[in-house]
Symmetry: C2
């Protein structure tokens, strides 16, 4: 399922997929895949995304 939370957090922080990708050291496509869902990123990447957006794992990646 899609990860809307990252998209929203990105909008709040006013960062594009490309900029977020640069901040965490991956490519734009990887960020795009994660937001699109059906993807299983590594813990390290999840953590990097959280820190870049000033969120925690539970904020962005915890479901239910």
């Amino acid at each position: 399922m899609k990860n809307k939370k990252i998209k929203i957090a990105r909008a709040e922080a006013d960062v594009s997929q490309e900029k977020l990708a640069a901040m965490v050291g991956v490519t734009r496509q990887t960020i795009n895949l994660i937001e699109g869902g059906n993807y299983n990123p590594s813990l390290k990447l999840c953590t990097a995304i959280c820190k870049a957006l000033n969120k925690t794992l539970d904020d962005l990646f915890w479901e239910e």
Copy 2:
């Protein structure tokens, strides 16, 4: 760095590495590697471990 939190949560729930592995559908070695640190598990696996131990991502995998 080592992940002591999982080890502690396991002790609380009285589950061995082997049992936890079975609960989340991986092998014992994978659990062992995660607890030992220097490992970068997938988000899906992290989430499964949390649910098996009644914890959240922040409880077990968030640092600082």
